[in-house]
Amino acid sequence: MEIRLEIKLQQPNPLFTRWLERWLHEAEQRNRKSQHTLRQALQALRSYPLPLYSGRECAVLRGFGATLCQLIDDELRQHRLLASQAKLKMTPTPASNSTQYQEQVQQVVKVVQRKQKQQQLQKPKKLTKKVQQELAAAEERERAVHMTAGSYRIVLLVDTQETSGKNKRILDQTRSYLQTLNVEHEVRRLTVGDFLWIARDAAGNELVLPYIVERKRMDDLASSIRDGRFHEQKHRLHQCGLSHIIYLIEDYGDNEQLGLPLESLQQALINARVQSAGIQVVRCDNHYRSMCYLSGVGSALQQLYVGASRSLHSVDKTHLSTTHTDICQVGLLKFRSLYEDSARNAQLTVREVFVQQLLQLHSLSIDRALAIVERYATPRLLLDAYAECQSEAEARQLLAGLSCGPLQRPLGDKLSQCIHQFYTNEF
């Protein structure tokens, strides 16, 4: 780190100062008129921080007229003469002053540097704002949170991206409806779902109630089914740890011109209801009625938690119970845990990436990929196994006999060879 040093000489012009003092003293003793100007000049010289190397340079200062500067120059000439005659290098002369000055400056710099090093070792480093924030976050993750009945409020969280057709207008409409309905809500970025409810206490701790809402207009539903997002979203909703998933489905006008036959959409909704545990499907006529529904759910939750005097505490995702029992102590996820855990680019395991890589090969189905990973869970383990084979033929057939899928079909020679070639050949 760079530091600016300001070096001030204690006595920048000791020689000239001394002479002036002498002359002033003489003038005072003889009560000459010149003492006044001399006094002024001396004061000016004393306050001047830079070294001066001749009488003429002194002219910049106050009180130094032509005569005084001449006097100084004469004195200087004499002084130099004396110095060269006496060969005394000890007396400070302006000529050597400059080099000495430089040396002295260097010395000071060295001293300061040494001092600085010492200081750094002793004083603890001041944390940057980013590091401070990280520490605060880590502390929050570790902290066990308890909220007794009555110490928390229930707040609806609205996702900032809660839009339909990528239109901010929809978010504004949502907010205005919720305000009309007097629903206490907050807009925030959510990594999963469109609406959540949290219990917040005075200290700012936030626990998530086990209900998550995914709002879809019928045209959104159709487009998400067509490009495959629907199943991925369902998967992520199941993985997030909140046991009650509500699909809030809103009609789009007459539900015609949706991109898919209406019957397919109806079947998809029933499938979601029947085939996935924990999903409820609720139908509403329009945006306003959807918000009324959310308002109603909010009131019901108020009754269910605050009205029933339930106290809450934070739990890990692995310790969440999925059954809805009427217990007085409810274990809930922290909002931060849910947010970080459900983010789309949360960390993957080696196993997951390996499976994804294997799936890139045509005709290698998920059943087959899983059979391989079951036996050789990472690429390294597979390569180790290849290395241990006695012959190349053995290595080529290593995977051929693996049984895949519910019918236990063998992986086959072709795929086994293909994978072996991919990892062991040069191309």
């Binding site: 309905l181 009650h244 070639q421 050949n425």
Partner: protein, 306 residues
């Protein structure tokens, strides 16, 4: 002997797989209706319409009035009355409770809806039964008594609610068809779900660009796809890596032989990025990605995070 057992086992599995296949599976599922349903205003109409569909059904006296559930023929047989062999039917988890208009209005007025769940659970004590209440469609208005009652049914009692538009009987038939299809396909979906559900990331969407490898061609493209599976790898990054390591073997060798391999990889320059830019630091692969690749190809613990 074990060979024969194996064979039988395999045969049984194949049978089972056929039965649960979408398209076939609906033949093995039937409805069971409570006879009380014949007495509701559109009960007779319901029966007529049912007969016009492909749905198989039976009418019995059920432990709870106006209920409907499903049974599946799993291919087993039971001995009946010690004399005959009959197909065994297993009950499925879904149970519907149907409310006609008048009954529903009365229940609302008398605040009787609160004990529905308890009654149903008494009648059908099987674990994990999922109950659905079918009611006529309400006029949705803000905070009305009826809408709140339905919300309470959903949240407080964990019941699903289906609202029938007019004409109720027609809509109900459609509902039954959809439910039957969903229930029939349930085992197949559950099989798939048990595979995909163990992974945090949804894996079934990825194979739109899978690579055909024929007679040694296509491995290069496959290698590129492999690299693309990592979130940080863009097209340019992948191409730069490939220019240095055209096959996985080279990269693996580097990792094995060279102690500085990670640093070497991190320093590989990214080519063809849009010319010299203010953000000079992005022209290398970088330490983060290099470490991820190193972890991916050297870790022996499958749960290591990348």
């Amino acid at each position: 002997m074990s060979n024969k057992a194996d064979k039988l086992m395999k045969q049984a599995m194949r049978e089972q797989q056929k039965r649960i296949r979408p398209g076939e599976c609906q033949k093995y599922v039937r409805l069971v209706l409570d006879q009380g349903l014949l007495l509701i205003p559109w009960g007779q109409e319901l029966l007529e319409k049912l007969n016009n569909t492909d749905l198989k059904y039976e009418i019995r006296s059920l432990p709870a009035r106006n209920c409907i559930f499903w049974e599946r023929n799993v291919g087993q047989q039971t001995l009946v009355a010690g004399v005959e062999l009959e197909d065994a039917w297993h009950m499925e988890q879904q149970v519907l409770l149907v409310y006609a208009e008048a009954d529903f209005q009365r229940a609302l007025k008398d605040h009787n809806l609160g004990c529905i769940k308890a009654k149903l659970q008494d009648a059908f004590p099987a674990l994990n039964c999922q109950f659905t209440v079918v009611v006529p469609r309400l006029r949705q208005s803000k905070h009305s008594h009826e809408t709140n009652a339905l919300i309470e049914l959903q949240l407080l009692q964990q019941l699903h609610v289906e609202q029938l538009a007019q004409p109720q009987c027609q809509e109900f038939i459609l509902l039954l068809q959809r439910y039957t299809k969903a229930i029939a396909e349930l085992p197949y979906k559950q099989q798939r779900q048990s595979i995909l559900g163990s992974f945090k990331k949804y894996l079934a969407n990825d194979n739109k660009q899978c690579v055909r490898v024929e007679q040694g061609n296509g491995y290069g493209r496959l290698w590129q796809q492999h690299l693309n599976r990592l979130p940080l790898v863009t097209l340019e990054v992948a191409e730069s890596i490939i220019s240095q390591y055209p096959c996985p073997k080279r990269m693996l060798q580097q990792f094995a032989d060279d102690p500085q391999a990670v640093q070497t990889l991190a320093d590989v320059k990214i080519k063809r990025s849009n010319g010299p830019q203010p953000l000079q630091s992005e022209r290398r692969i970088g330490n983060v990605l290099s470490n991820k690749l190193y972890t991916l190809y050297t870790a022996r613990d499958p749960n290591t995070l990348i």
